[in-house]
């Protein structure tokens, strides 16, 4: 049973993608997407009781699987090389040739005999990633159906590019499941590079000049990670004689595995997760259609990097590498939060926030205590859901008002009350207790308290985070005379996905005690002692406690009271905002000089002089480069 489920999870998206590309009828395409997504969701849920398990299929349709993946791997690298030629980018060409050469050397001159005991291995960490990728990923693809229809209508496209779009989106879901289930590191490498290619194709989807430029940048930065990965594989095989990830981790640096290859693997994780100084590819990727940003660049693909770091964490415990990863992650958290303050472009704020949270997960992996690892795992889960929700909301708003600037979203509550409220709800779920993201941050902070560099940066970063989220949420609601409430109309799928993600996060936050016991504790494996005891819905550790269930109940009660207050206030007398008595009957206007009406307006503080992107990026990249040099140099 479990073998069938895993096969479906990895292979079905590939099959569906091909069907989508071949069948050019939009109704059938939508049906395929919906069915594939639904099947993925069901299968991932059915997989829960079986973890941990391992699985080594020998053949695919009669062809030995190792051979298939080898061929596909080289084909993939050749495709990337082709794109390097097509876009005349020397770095991509060099890196792909390097990767091809390394893989040729590895596969044909080094490898003798079986390289891994199990090809696929699913423990609870992989299971959590499968759930995230399948459930959140499928929901995003569902919302992409109405989104892309409207998107192409806006662009007045004669020939629809949706077949290519959904081909890559669904293919990507298969690649994601493959990456997180893979135990054989060559398989991991194949799926890893496949996600790079998918990202490149999707960023460049609109084929404008800036989209192509940013797609190429994404390709070379991710190829840098791929090259580091390939070199690390050579080192690992020469040290240990196998490429079985579980065994590599169990060996650790103590028994003969030099730290350098692990550091290279961590480096490749950094590039995949767009940490500094490689963040520009993620920011550039924001030109893509919003479902792409939601799927690849916040919820799933960039999570591969942090998943990999959490997976490697047991191997680098008590090592200098672990320390530097912690400091680097905390620095990312702080720097990205600072850069987000200076941004008024909504998608860029979300991008920086993603980098920030990923940095925090890296810091958790680096701190490497049971509390930290728990925090990292929970943060992956909750951040994926909330960030997807926020990106999809921003996409919906953007399609209505034709702008992604926060200043243009001022008072959008007047035009689209339900979407605005869902967006505000999403922002609240990012920064407030008792929701999951804040809980994981709390856990990470308590875990990091013994590392002075990390904790200072995390403290400053957390305060900065609050500022840019609160500013955005307030701006959305900045609509006077908001007594009226007429729900706007959106496609059914959009409502289904947005409300589903919103409610889902709330339910998940309430259910943390059960999620912890069911999913996270087994994921900690033998390397970490479960840090928390669960008693009456209160998470308690040796030095901290978080009464989740009581707090959720009280918060829900407070929420209901506040909603009742809003309904009462709707019957209250509505007055104009204070404009020194000079207000006219028209909203937000006052009588100015020469008795002419003047519109009163205010703009948010973006503090460009301090936190402006141009100003700060140079220093941040420099510091990140220094920290990276410290990490790699310390390892050598």
């Amino acid at each position: 049973m479990v073998n069938e489920l895993s096969t479906i999870l990895v292979l079905l998206p590939f099959v569906s993608a091909v069907l989508i590309y071949l069948i050019r009828v939009s109704a059938i395409r939508s049906l395929i997407v919906l069915v594939t997504g639904a099947v993925l969701i069901v299968c991932s849920l059915l997989l829960i009781p079986y973890a941990p398990f391992s699985w080594s299929p020998h053949a695919l349709l009669g062809v030995p699987l190792h051979g298939v993946v080898q061929v596909a791997d080289f084909a993939l690298l050749l495709i990337i090389l082709y794109f390097g030629y097509k876009h005349r980018n020397l770095v991509i060409q060099v890196l792909s040739v390097l990767q091809i050469a390394t893989m040729v050397y590895l596969e044909f001159f080094m490898v003798r005999g079986p390289i891994s005991t199990d090809i696929f291995y699913c423990d609870n960490l992989s299971l959590i990633m499968v759930l995230v990728a399948s459930i959140v990923g499928s929901l995003i693809c569902f919302q992409a159906i109405p989104y892309m229809k409207k998107h192409e209508h806006h662009l007045h496209l004669e020939k629809s590019k949706q077949p290519q779009f959904f081909f890559v989106m669904i293919l990507f879901l298969g690649a994601m499941n493959g990456v997180v289930l893979a135990n054989d590191m060559t398989f991991f490498y194949f799926f890893f590079e496949l996600t790079t290619l998918c990202s490149f194709l999707l960023i460049g989807h609109d084929a404008t000049e800036i989209a192509t430029k940013n797609a190429v940048r994404a390709l070379w930065m991710n190829s840098l990670g791929g090259a580091a990965f390939a070199i690390a594989l050579v080192f690992i095989y020469s040290d240990l004689g196998h490429l079985d990830m579980q065994q590599v981790i169990r060996t650790g640096p103590v028994a003969g595995l030099y730290v350098l290859p692990v550091a290279l693997l961590v480096f490749s994780a950094f590039t995949k997760s767009a940490q500094f100084p490689f963040q520009s590819w993620l920011l550039g990727a924001m030109v893509a259609p919003t479902p792409v940003s939601a799927l690849l660049h916040s919820s799933t693909m960039v999570k591969v990097g942090v998943y990999f770091a959490l997976r490697l964490a047991p191997a680098i415990q008590l090592n200098f590498l672990s320390q530097t990863v912690a400091v680097f992650g905390a620095f990312s958290f702080l720097a990205a939060a600072a850069l987000a303050i200076g941004q008024s472009n909504g998608k860029k704020v979300l991008a920086y926030s993603t980098i920030s949270n990923l940095g925090l997960i890296f810091a958790c992996a680096g701190i490497n205590t049971p509390e930290a690892i728990t925090a990292g795992i929970l943060l992956i889960m909750f951040h994926a859901v909330v960030k997807a929700l926020l990106f999809l909301c921003v996409g919906t708003i953007e399609q209505s008002i034709d702008s992604r600037d926060i200043e243009d979203m001022r008072g959008v509550y007047g035009k689209m009350p339900v979407t605005a409220l869902i967006t505000v709800m999403g922002v609240l779920m990012m920064i407030m207790p008792p929701f999951g993201v804040l809980l994981s941050k709390w856990m990470a902070m308590e875990a990091a308290a013994r590392n002075i560099y990390a904790i200072i940066m995390i403290g400053l970063g957390s305060a900065l985070t609050v500022m840019y989220w609160a500013r955005w949420a307030g701006t959305l609601m900045s609509d006077p005379f908001a007594g009226r409430f007429k729900a706007e109309s959106q496609p059914v799928l959009t409502w289904f996905v947005l409300l589903g993600l919103c409610v889902g996060c709330g339910v998940m936050s309430f259910a943390i005690p059960w999620l912890y016991a069911l999913l996270v504790v087994p994921a900690l494996g033998g390397a970490y002692v479960p840090p928390f005891t669960v008693r009456e819905g209160i998470l308690e550790s040796g030095f901290g406690s978080f009464p989740i269930v009581p707090l959720c109940i009280v918060a829900a009660f407070g929420f209901l009271v506040s909603i009742w207050a809003v309904r009462r206030a709707a019957r209250a007398r509505i007055v104009s905002p204070y404009l020194s008595g000079a207000q006219t009957s028209e909203v937000g206007t006052f009588r100015g000089p020469m008795n002419q009406p003047v519109k009163a307006w205010a703009r948010n503080y973006y503090l460009n002089a301090i936190f402006g992107e141009e100003r700060l990026t140079v220093w941040v990249n420099l510091s990140a480069g220094v920290l990276l040099a410290l990490m790699m140099g310390g390892v050598l």
Binding site: A449, A463, V466, M477, D479, F543, S562, S576, L579
Partner: protein, 283 residues
């Protein structure tokens, strides 16, 4: 049973202690300014009068935000009385502060908007400081749980003197005392009318005032942790600290947000760093 009593004590402590402290604040301030000052129960009369006013709103979500601010502040104090996790309590009261800002941002009046942004900058300034104080307490007592902190045998003030000064900065900002009373202030006119609170009125203003009392109680409890070994010690510490705040309020002028952010972060980070390094070295 004990828990229910503590919850009730927490819910009552806000209005009773917060209101009386607020009243005493006004009397002492007046005396320092060579005036007589209002009666001690004046804040209660203010809140009751506001509750009796007609409810007018600029945006119905102001009502939501006022109630949410009050709810968060009450929950923070109740959690404190239940001796829960200090970092969690810190985040809970931050929720309230954010809802206050959110309610102000829903109004389009420039006074509200600028007041709200100044309040965000104030929050940005004091949040890391409170955070470092809590981390310092953890490093000394090895726990975030207040129950454990209260069992610590010696006064925390001995090992965390600089962190207490840092807490003083955060206290000055949270209590809206000069030189940090940028976003709104208790006494005289603002250059922004009433800043953040301009468009709150009537019952909703009353709720924000009561929520502010709960915040004051939370901060005083946090100060009290620094000499938790004796009741006399707590009394001395709180009285001296609060009187110092009132004096600082009366001798300084309101400054700009740039100065506040720069100065308070510089001093706060420096002092926190020194104290935290001491604690690390002592471990």
């Amino acid at each position: 049973m004990n828990d229910y009593l503590l919850v009730a004590a927490g819910v009552l402590a806000g209005p009773v202690i917060g209101g009386l402290v607020s009243g005493a604040d006004r009397i002492i301030t007046a005396r320092v300014q060579a005036r007589v000052g209002p009666p001690l129960f004046q804040p209660f009369y203010d809140v009751a009068k506001l509750l009796g006013k007609e409810a007018i709103v600029v945006n119905v979500w102001q009502a939501f935000c006022a109630y949410a601010y009050l709810a968060a502040s009450v929950i923070a104090v109740v959690l404190f009385f239940l001796q829960s996790d200090l970092l969690l309590i810190f985040f809970t009261q931050a929720v309230g502060a954010l809802f206050l800002v959110g309610g102000a941002l829903t109004s389009t009046s420039p006074y509200s908007q600028i007041g709200a942004h100044r309040e965000l900058l104030q929050i940005l300034t004091y949040e890391p400081l409170l955070f470092f104080v809590i981390i310092g307490i953890y490093l000394e007592t090895h726990s975030f749980k207040i129950a454990d902190i209260l069992r610590w045998p010696e006064p925390l003030l001995l090992k965390l003197p600089f962190l207490f000064v840092v807490l003083g900065y955060a206290l000055t900002i949270k209590l809206r005392k000069s030189p940090f009373d940028l976003s709104t202030c208790h006494h005289a006119h603002q250059e922004l009318v009433k800043g953040l609170l301009t468009d709150y009125s009537g019952p909703f203003l009353a709720l924000t005032e009561v929520a502010h009392w709960f915040d004051v109680v939370f901060l005083l409890c946090l100060c009290a942790l620094f000499w938790a070994t004796s009741w006399v010690g707590i009394a001395i510490l709180l009285i001296v600290t609060y009187l110092l705040e009132i004096v600082i309020d009366n001798v300084t002028a309101r400054m700009t947000w740039r100065w506040m952010l720069g100065y308070v972060w510089a001093m706060g980070l420096a002092l926190s760093l020194v104290n935290l390094i001491w604690l690390y070295a002592a471990r």
